[in-house]
Structure formats: C-alpha cells, structure tokens
Symmetry: C2
Subunit: 106 residues, 2 copies
DNA sequence: CAGTTGATCAACCACTAAGTTGATTATAGA
DNA sequence: TCTATAATCAACTTAGTGGTTGATCAACTG
C-alpha cells in the first residue's frame, strides 16, 4: 500500500473492525482490552488494528501504568473531507460548464 | 477485504493511481486508453483499477462502439461524508459532555 | 521477589491486491 | 474479409493484509 497520508487514512477506514473501534472511541477513551472485548478475534489482532489506526493518525495512545488508553483524532477525517470537497468541486464546475454549453450530460 | 459499501469505497480510494483517475474523470468522461495514458503501468492494470472503482460505485461505464467511456459518480463520496459526520458528531457530543462535567480532556 | 495483568513482538499461514504478459473479444474501417 | 484498435480475460508473480499462537516486556500487587 502507498504510504502517503490519504492512502493511509482511506486504507485504515476500509476495515469494518477498525470502523467499529473508532465508533467506540467516539464515546470516549478506551484501553486495548476494552476495545477488544466486543470482538471474537484475539487481543493481538486488535492491537494490530490499533497500530494501523495510529499510523494513519486516526488515534493516539497515551500511557497510564500498564494501560495504553486510545483516543480518537479527527485531523485525518478533515483531510479526507477536504479531498472529497476538492473532487466534487471540480466535478460540479464541469457540470456547470456542460450546462452552459447546453449539452445534455445525463 | 470486506464487501460492504463503505469498505469498498474507502478501499478504492486508498490507492493514489485510482485517486488520479478520479481526478481526471472530474474533468469529464474518458476512455480506458485516455485514462491509462499518464501512467507507466500497462493498460490491463488500469483496467483493473477501473473495475475496483466501478465495484465501489465511484464510476460507471457506458458503451460507444469499442470504447467504454467512464464517468465519475459521487454517491459513494456522499456516503463517506455521512459516515464522517456521524463519527465526528458523536465525538463532538462527547466533547460537550466532558466540558459540562468540567473535566479537562486535553 | 513472585505472580498477575495489559499489551506488544515475532513467526507463521491463508488470502487478496497490484502488477506483469499473452490470448481473446468486439467493433470500425479499408 | 482482413486488419487495426479498444478493451477485457486468464494465468502467473510478488508483496501485503488480517488473522493465529507462543514468547516477551512492563507495571502493578500480594
């Protein structure tokens, strides 16, 4: 996979398990064990998912004794939103262009 | 990879080549050859990328003789935007909650 | 210190993804 | 009909992902 920040973010969000983890973190900080609890998979697997989310900047991890509390970070979400708006914006201008030319682009 | 629609969309967007293709399509329809032209890779590879984008609903393909003109579709972009807003919305309410409780959550 | 708990590291396996080349299909045009 | 062009299909290679288990590290607790 490419390692630019948009690719990392989109790729991190492309997994349902990771999206569930983020949904949980939107309710507040949680430890690895707490995050792993709802899933069938092993703790190690969840730990790997967290590493992916962390690399994408979607979470940060603190330290509290032997716990590593995770928290959601929204900066990458803002970045994908800017990407989307840029793309849709260009497309909208095209749409307008075609309309001005009187073409039927439907 | 999971085959739910959010996963398909995020996964499709996680590749820089595919994002370049979408950027090109935001300027207007294009054929496979036209889309492949800027890239070093083979035509077949680009054709595969288009299949991924099509499966995610990010493009549709028409037919014009032997050409298969591609066009951008924005519905999946709207879906990821709704996802983002939902997630950030929940997070914002948490933020508010913590503020009401007088906690320092920074 | 010994034991327990939280979490990560390491090695491995099965599957998928992204690229290649070569063959094939479909249409246009001489 | 024969050839050229647009695109896809098929088979294969390589590398990466998501999961497993077992070992290890780090910190609290008796």
């Amino acid at each position: 996979m490419a390692d630019d920040s948009l690719s990392l973010t989109f790729s991190a969000l492309a997994d349902p398990t990771r999206r569930e983890i983020l949904a949980r973190l939107a309710q507040g900080e949680a430890t690895v064990n707490e995050l792993a609890e709802p899933f069938e998979m092993s703790l190690q697997a969840v730990s790997k998912h967290l590493k992916v989310l962390e690399r994408a900047g979607l979470i940060t991890r603190g330290r509290d004794a032997q716990w590593r509390p995770c928290r959601l970070e929204t900066a990458p979400l803002e970045e994908i939103d800017r990407y989307r708006r840029r793309l849709e914006g260009r497309f909208a201008r095209l749409d307008e262009e075609l309309r001005r030319m009187g073409k039927n682009h439907e």
